[in-house]
């Protein structure tokens, strides 16, 4: 086994001043939406935990998740992949290719049994023996199963891995299914969105590194910290909705005054995501702020919930604090409680979130 370093050790070794290290920890707490009082705990965690190997697989996808990931502003991508985790296997960034690349995956699976994270971008086509996605001469589906076998936990990046996304839209020609339909014996965190917000992606990983456990999940296995409320409920245009002031077409006076986009088809009222709070690209904007209705890209089956410019028939739960668990008829008991990791390097116990109790829909 190779020597495993702590974050603080890595930071120090890289010449990062302690002052900067503490600042970094504060930024993480902000990105996770934590109280400043928790910063010392983050500092402690960073000083005592080693870097976790991450194997990042790509199935049927468009790589928008990776692109979003490298847009993260806190932490920045370079810190994330060089200092905080050990991103050992990723098609998009690895220097090695072909069998040298595949050897890395096999080595980590063996050397870090039960101690690595499997991150999956995209999903797996089950039709026709998986010939619609092949990697290194094997089907992506078999590769996924093989790599999940020894993983500590699985992160399903984006709507493809979480819910199926575009290739899973009707009529789903390749039989594409989300990851939890294939991997049933591991804790899975769904991080939906097309793509997910950059700081949500890095936030999910830093939550695990910092607190030693996966974030609390809702009934669709989404972290409550980032998918707890509807976009509509925190939307800065919400007062116009309540006042009944709506954009009627994209060239009217309401567009320039920032009125509500509900009548233009906005799916904010049925979409759970952090777009209206964290926003995109370091808080620069989000779709509604650019005058475009939300297309609901983090919701299961959103491609088939359209057309995008047709308004929702009804807006559920006008109350602003209704969490995802309160909407719908599903039992609250299906929610996966925060899954404990005794320490990094210890396998996370199987969470009670297997797909039988998971109401995720596809299509």
């Amino acid at each position: 086994m190779k020597k495993i370093e702590t974050f603080a050790g890595v930071f120090k070794a890289r010449g990062v001043e302690r002052r900067d290290f503490l600042k970094f920890c504060s930024l993480i707490s902000v990105s996770l939406g934590l109280a400043p009082a928790l910063v010392p705990r983050i500092v402690h965690a960073m000083e005592h935990k080693p870097r976790i190997p991450v194997l990042w697989l790509h199935g049927l996808e468009c790589t928008c998740c990776t692109e979003s990931f490298i847009r993260s502003s806190h932490p920045i991508a370079a810190d994330m992949i060089l200092n905080m985790i050990s991103l050992d296997y990723d098609d998009t960034l690895n220097a090695a290719a072909g069998h040298q690349f595949e050897e890395i995956r096999k080595q980590i699976m063996e050397e870090y049994k039960g101690k690595y994270i499997l991150a999956v971008e995209g999903n797996a086509p089950l039709k026709d023996n998986g010939v619609y996605c092949m990697v290194g001469g094997q089907s992506f589906t078999s590769m996924l199963k093989e790599t999940a076998e020894n993983a500590m936990a699985v992160i399903s990046w984006g709507s493809c891995a979480s819910f199926g996304c575009v290739q899973n839209a009707k009529p789903n020609p390749t039989g594409a299914v989300p990851i939890h339909k294939i991997i049933k014996n591991k804790p899975i965190v769904n991080v939906p969105g097309c793509p997910p917000i950059a700081e949500v992606m890095t936030g999910v990983i830093t939550h695990l590194l910092t607190f030693g456990k996966l974030p609390e999940l809702d009934r669709l296995n989404r972290p409550k910290a980032f998918y707890g409320t509807r976009i509509h409920d925190k939307c800065y245009r919400r007062p116009f909705f309540d006042a009944g002031m709506f954009v009627e077409n994209f060239d009217d006076e309401g567009t320039r005054k920032g009125w509500c986009l509900y009548k233009m088809g906005c799916k904010g009222p049925t979409t759970y995501n952090s777009c209206s709070t964290i926003m995109w690209n370091e808080g620069t904007s989000f779709p509604i702020k650019s005058g475009h209705p939300c297309i609901g890209c983090s919701e299961p089956g959103f491609w088939d919930n359209g057309p995008f410019y047709t308004r929702l028939a009804e807006v559920p739960f006008v109350a602003s604090d209704s969490g995802a668990d309160k909407v719908g008829m599903y039992a609250v008991g299906a929610a996966a409680a925060g899954m404990a990791v005794h320490a990094v390097g210890t396998a996370i116990k199987k969470a009670k979130n297997d797909s039988d109790s998971n109401p995720t829909q596809e299509g």
Partner: protein, 570 residues
């Protein structure tokens, strides 16, 4: 005695690509085969949907070249229904598009391509003082002190010593084909990290006008980002100032980091002029300056056999020009597998006849890819930055002529050096300098319009499908960072009847066609000598010089997608 090597997966690209190559006894590549190993079948998914939604579906073909499919799709639908967009919408779309080109090229050079030329581990033995001297001789970029490089080197050393090499694991460090001195390697590693941080700034322009990146929002009829300098809920001077600063910072980064690095690195590899390939180049043109799609700053045209004196005109509506073949692809055609079909009459009937999984080798004597083989008047063509730069060079575009001659002069090589892997990589950098300039140009056009009182970004005339013709066809095109891209649509009763796309990486990564003509990757790999066939660095160099995007290449939306249901289980 020939031997066969396989590189699968090809990393540092988008999507799933496999290369098989046959080497002679001197380890020179005799034949190469390019195989796209993924297919998503979006054509069926799009059928019957609202054409106004098509941009969002097609955008998800690719998140690396995000925006280019969305842009092409709105152009395509607007062409079909006859919609006009306001000048501001055209300018904003151009600005989003050119921002994409610039950011994409920068990311490609440092994060997808540089490690084919840069030995990260060698940087550990660099002298920081000498590194600083070299860096300062190349550029005025301020992050160039001995202390800066010393600190980076210390971090890098500890990283390597940790034994957890992450993305640099098990690569080709120490390979004989690496030629850079340790100091230049250290400069490149520094800029790899700086560019990784900076690239995220550039695309904030997408967030301003399209709400987010990746996958900013478009709409047919214009854009939705309202402009009003006197509103606190529309694009006003604060957001425009942000865009301006990003544009200025981007131009500085390209001029002071990317271009000097490109020239410095290329200087050590100018003896490695392999990878010429087809010698046929195709570009559709882009960045329209009026309502006429053909009014682009980038010209359209085709070059055959490296003959820059003859530019062939192209017509995407001509049934005899752009055609797709499937003789060596995992599809069938109802007219027989030797047919070549224009997109308007295209078919996509997937039929996998490759080896059972898992396999060691593909059957490259027969069908071996999920990519079709697009051809222009029967010719395999290369698309991308080199095609565009050559076309502009041939048409004597002053900025391109000056920059190309400047780069060739700095490297002390002749124009023939452009026809190579290195030429492809240099062309991308040259083009990036041009697109950084276009960012500023389009920004100024937008400011001039706003100043003149024109705030309109959307035209509502044909938003309502009730006002559309009962049946119509159209096409839209652009030049994506990776090359020529076009969509074709057939609308009937307000719904998508058929949708078809021919994508840059399908041109470049295509398998052989019915006549046995290789695609651009395959041709470019031929005759390349390899130092060590076990360590396929030379293959990666040439493939990466095209900037492959396989999710794009293998998506294929098609005219007769319904026949897909006849696919046999293999």
């Amino acid at each position: 005695m020939s031997k066969r090597i396989v590189v699968d997966p090809i990393t540092r690209i988008e999507g799933h690509l496999r290369i098989e190559a046959v080497l002679d006894e001197n380890n020179v590549i005799k034949d190469a085969y390019s195989s796209g190993t993924m297919w998503r079948g979006l054509e069926l998914i799009l059928k019957g949907r609202d054409p106004r939604d098509a941009w969002a579906f097609t955008q998800r073909i690719c998140g690396v070249c995000t925006t280019v499919h969305a842009l092409t799709s709105v152009r395509c639908v607007e062409d079909a229904i006859g919609a006009q967009i306001p000048p501001n919408a055209r300018i904003i779309r151009n600005l989003i598009d050119v921002t994409q080109h610039t950011q994409d090229h920068l990311v490609h050079f440092y994060h997808l391509h540089a490690l084919d030329w840069v030995d990260v581990v060698s940087a550990l033995s660099a002298d920081p003082k000498e590194t600083s001297r070299i860096a300062q001789s190349l550029s005025a970029w301020p992050k160039s002190s001995p202390g800066y490089f010393k600190e980076l080197q210390t971090r890098l050393t500890k990283f390597v010593e940790s034994g957890q090499l992450g993305i640099f694991s098990n690569a080709y460090w120490g390979h004989k084909a690496y030629k850079l001195p340790a100091e230049v390697n250290l400069i490149a590693v520094a800029h790899y990290l700086e560019a990784l941080d900076f690239q995220k700034e550039i695309v904030k322009i997408h967030a301003v006008f399209g709400g987010k990146n990746p996958h900013p929002n478009y709409t047919i009829g214009g854009m939705t980002c309202a402009i009003d300098p006197n509103s606190d809920n529309a694009i006003n001077i604060q957001q425009l100032n942000m865009v301006k600063k990003i544009i200025d910072d981007t131009a500085t980064f390209i001029d002071q980091v990317y271009i000097p690095d490109l020239i410095a690195i290329a200087g050590y590899y100018k003896g490695w002029l392999h990878g010429e390939g087809l010698g046929n180049y195709l570009s559709y043109g882009n960045f329209p300056q009026t309502a006429d799609p053909a009014s682009g700053l980038w010209p359209s045209g085709a070059i055959l056999g490296k003959d820059l004196a003859t530019i062939h005109e192209i017509d995407l509506a001509d049934m005899g020009q752009v055609q797709e073949e499937i003789a060596r692809s995992w599809y069938t055609y109802s007219k027989g597998d030797q047919a070549a079909l224009h997109p308007w009459e295209g078919e996509t009937n997937p039929k996998y006849v490759g080896p059972d999984l898992p396999y060691e080798y593909l059957d490259t004597d027969h069908k071996y890819s999920w990519l079709k083989a697009p051809r222009w008047k029967g010719n395999p063509m290369e698309v991308g930055p080199l095609a565009r730069v050559l076309l502009q060079y041939a048409k004597q575009e002053p900025m391109i002529v000056d920059t190309v001659n400047g780069v060739l002069g700095a490297l002390d090589v002749g124009p023939e050096a452009l026809f190579s892997t290195l030429g492809r990589t240099a062309a991308r950098g040259i083009e990036c300098k041009q697109t950084a300039g276009f960012m500023s140009k389009f920004y100024n056009q937008l400011i001039d319009n706003i100043k003149a009182g024109d705030y309109q970004v959307f035209n509502n005339d044909l938003w309502d499908p009730e006002r559309w013709p009962k049946e119509c066809k159209g096409f839209g095109y652009t030049e994506a960072p990776r090359g020529a891209l076009a969509h074709w649509i057939h609308i009937k009763d307000k719904k998508i009847l058929d949708y078809q796309i021919v994508v840059p990486s399908t041109w470049n990564a295509s398998p052989r066609d019915g006549k046995g003509q290789p695609g651009a990757y395959e041709a470019a790999l031929a005759n390349t000598p390899m130092e060590d066939p076990e360590q396929p660095l030379e293959v990666l160099r040439t493939i990466h010089s095209f900037d492959p995007c396989l999710a794009c290449a293998s998506h294929i939306m098609d005219m007769n997608g319904n026949e897909i249901t006849t696919v046999k289980i293999v």
